[in-house]
């Protein structure tokens, strides 16, 4: 079993498309990651600064409205705040479509897939209205530019991004003996202290893994080391030494920082965690599960682990190890596509024109994509926790979620396209050598073209990768 171009697009890319010839070999796929990010240029999304601009405008509008309570200006300011909310919801819908379009139109689907993988690994969400739609710009800034770097660079970018600090409460964490804690205690009688959330998730989810060799003491020490990382809406990320717990901290047997240590000590600790052998095993397993099967071949996992350890987490090398291993090329399609990837691959297989997607307004984006995705179990930008979306096939194919997938397949393609593709041709486009006699029978036995196309997209073969 070796590289198979069609399978490569299905399993490691965004699916087959009538507009693109599959990548020739693994080298071409890997090289795609080193080239200019054409999809991002074609379908731009602002970086995290864009969200901060929205958030600042939102806060200002809210403040202005609050100040106008019981004055004649209130109604106008109330309206202005609502307009700002509407603008932010428009942005969210717009950014969703840009991400969808990248998957639908790219010749380099592997880039989109690894971006989605790492975005999920480093799940962060907005918990307040001002940052509610921050997840996509966060991915654009913290994740996407680092997918071909070393894991430690990706880790540092994600963990120090304001959205992550906000999501996992790091900006509230203050060293119990920090200057800030002492000042608040003496002047206002307030007690402030550590919040361990980010430190725990960095060890448990982002690096060593839930069964990794760390203790509660490591969590505590890392939380102390992390104090000082904060953000505000004006400047974004900032290291505030006033929040920082003085003195060195010991994490996984290694001492970091000292009395006047700053952000460098935190970066050092993150680099060491990224290079830890347990991190290699944890990430190798996750990659193997994500790209091959819920129960991955142990030899593939061992192969990825070894490459990660040998290269200190050089992600390009790890991807190369993934693409060269025979277990990556078993013919049978296993993993169920999660809703976003599923809908993107459906639009791609149908050849939905980019203009049709670009032309959707916010309401249509919700009706045709975001609400169906939520009913399929994937609320866009809001997974159920910092561990991200499930990889388990059974979590996606529940009765309710499958019903919604089928409803979408029967109804939405015809809304997106003036003319649906001919079912049999579309079947060959969408599934290539995975097409079979039974699917061809279904494609011809359906009563209408709309149902035939819907059934192809609803087939287990198309829903797996």
């Amino acid at each position: 079993m070796a590289f198979d171009p069609q399978l490569a697009e299905i399993r490691f890319g965004c699916g087959l498309s009538p507009s693109h010839v599959p990548m020739r070999d693994a080298t071409a796929m890997l090289n795609g990651l080193l080239k200019v990010d054409q999809a991002a240029q074609d379908w731009p999304i602002p970086g995290f600064d864009g969200v901060f601009a929205d958030a600042r405008a939102y806060s200002a509008a809210r403040r202005a409205r609050k100040q106008a309570v019981d004055t004649p200006q209130f109604a106008a300011r109330d309206k202005a705040l609502n307009q700002q909310r509407a603008l932010m919801r428009d942005h969210q819908a717009d950014w969703f479509i840009q991400r969808l379009l990248r998957c639908v139109t790219t010749p380099d689907g592997f880039r989109e897939r690894v971006t989605l993988f790492w975005a999920d690994h480093f799940t962060a969400q907005g918990k307040i209205a001002a940052l509610r739609y921050g997840a996509t710009p966060y991915v654009e800034t913290a994740v996407r530019p680092n997918i071909a770097a070393r894991f430690e660079d990706l880790l540092i970018a994600a963990v120090t991004n304001p959205l992550m600090l906000h999501y996992l409460d790091q900006h509230r964490s203050t060293g119990p003996n920090s200057r800030r804690a002492k000042r608040l205690a003496s002047r206002r009688g307030l007690e402030v202290g550590l919040n361990e959330n980010l430190a725990r998730e960095v060890l448990e989810l982002h690096t060593l893994g839930v069964d990794g060799p760390y203790t509660q003491q490591d969590v505590r020490q890392l939380a102390e080391l992390f104090t000082g990382m904060t953000y505000n809406l004006k400047d974004g990320f900032r290291f505030s030494s006033g929040h920082a717990e003085p003195g060195p901290e010991t994490v996984m047997g290694q001492s970091y920082g000292g009395d006047d240590a700053g952000f460098e000590a935190i970066q050092d600790a993150l680099r060491d965690l990224a290079r830890h052998p347990a991190t290699a095993s944890h990430l190798a397993y996750k990659l193997a599960v994500h790209f091959t099967s819920d129960t991955p071949d142990p030899d593939l996992v061992a192969h990825l682990t070894a490459r990660y350890r040998e290269t200190s987490g050089d992600l390009m090398q790890v991807y190369a190890a993934l693409l060269e291993h025979p277990a990556a090329w078993v013919f049978e399609l296993r993993n169920v596509k999660p809703p976003f990837a599923y809908l993107a691959s459906a639009c791609r297989a149908l050849g939905v024109p980019a203009a049709a997607l670009r032309g959707l307004n916010r309401k249509q984006v919700h009706r045709l994509f975001l609400r169906p995705m939520q009913r399929m179990g994937q609320r866009w930008e809001f997974s159920n926790g910092p561990d991200g979306w499930s990889e388990a096939d059974g979590d996606w194919i529940t009765p309710q979620a499958l019903a919604e997938r089928m409803r979408w397949c029967m109804a939405v393609p015809a809304r997106l396209m003036e003319r649906l593709p001919a079912p049999l041709a579309m079947l060959e486009t969408a599934l290539g050598t995975r097409s079979n006699a039974q699917l061809r029978f279904v494609a011809t036995a359906a009563e209408t073209e709309r149902e035939a196309v819907g059934l192809i997209l609803a087939s287990p073969t198309f829903q797996r990768r």
Partner: protein, 404 residues
Amino acid sequence: MTKHASSSAKAYSRRSFLTRSGLVGCSLAASPLLTPVSFAAAPWDSRLVVIILRGGMDALDVVQPYGDPAYAGLRSSLLGGPQNGALDLDGYFALHPALAPLMPLWQAQQLGFVHAVSTPYRNKRSHFDGQDLLEAGTPGLHERRDGWLNRLLQVTPGVEARTAFAIGQGDMKLLQGSAPVSDWSPDAQIALSPQAERLAGLMMEQDPLFHAALGEALDLARDARDNAANAARRGKRSRPHQRIADYAATQLRGDTRIAAFSINGWDTHNRQTGALTRALGRLSDTILTLKAGLGAGIWDKTAVVAMTEFGRTARENGTGGTDHGTGGAMVLAGGAIRGGRVHGHWPGLDEAALFDRRDLMPTGDVRAQVGWIMRGMIGVRHQDIANVIFPGVEMTTDPGLLRL
């Protein structure tokens, strides 16, 4: 430390029951999910309905403490009490007029409240975190990734997928976890022509996961359709929350013992009067629809428990609303409930008695209240409640919320 949700445990999340119930590898023809269903009877007989009121319900406007001398000073446009149209409950508390349709239940002692309760969530006031903590049932945030209602199932023998049902399209985190549960929305449709349905079945035959889910979806959709048709025949208006309640009742008449769903719309920063009236109308409809759907026999052994992520500020704000607060109230209904009273310890509304001089002071933990309800209705062991379901909860004396 608490280590939670290992990757293997995660693989067994709520939606994976189909793959774990022995379907994979066994004969599909023999699968109970593909044929007219007959499930094993549930391991207990009482019914528990948990309703999450998302948005932070203002307890002081729902169960109005008009007998508290400080109450009138805190509310102006939101001032209630019998002189403003509220329904007197016990000479001290009055009920928001939008719950008037529930007064017969109060008089029958099948409606009660627990006042001044909250989760352990304090001082941060984010809906997101507040709801996460309410559904996780832990002392602090991010300690477990499963929900307390699922952990109840984990410690209860004889549980099947149909024992507990999450209803509607929102995620019910309180039911997520390794124990099998079902979920469906009465508004979900599968919308296939008979021919497409046949072809889909054929296409999925070779894939047990898809085949089982399709069979179950078709069954559930058919039930929901019949349900809606029956409701229409009985001349019922059919709004989404009523369809959910009706659907819950149908399931609870069968083998389901626990149903959970949400009612949104409690975040009343501005013009609270209108918004709260609408939200309470939905709650009132929901309870009455459940009661009608369950029938007297089952209603008598049912407890409906409605709770919210936090209360709201004691003082009305400048826009006829209230802001995020702390202490709130639970709404209890059902024949199993010891109603006709406002439970809980009333802390008073003097400024010094308020939490942070701002919110109703929580004097009870919602987790302890629910713990006692589960103990009384399902017979869960005390140590399972305190160690597994609601880790670290303090259940000192039985608050007497049940008739049993």
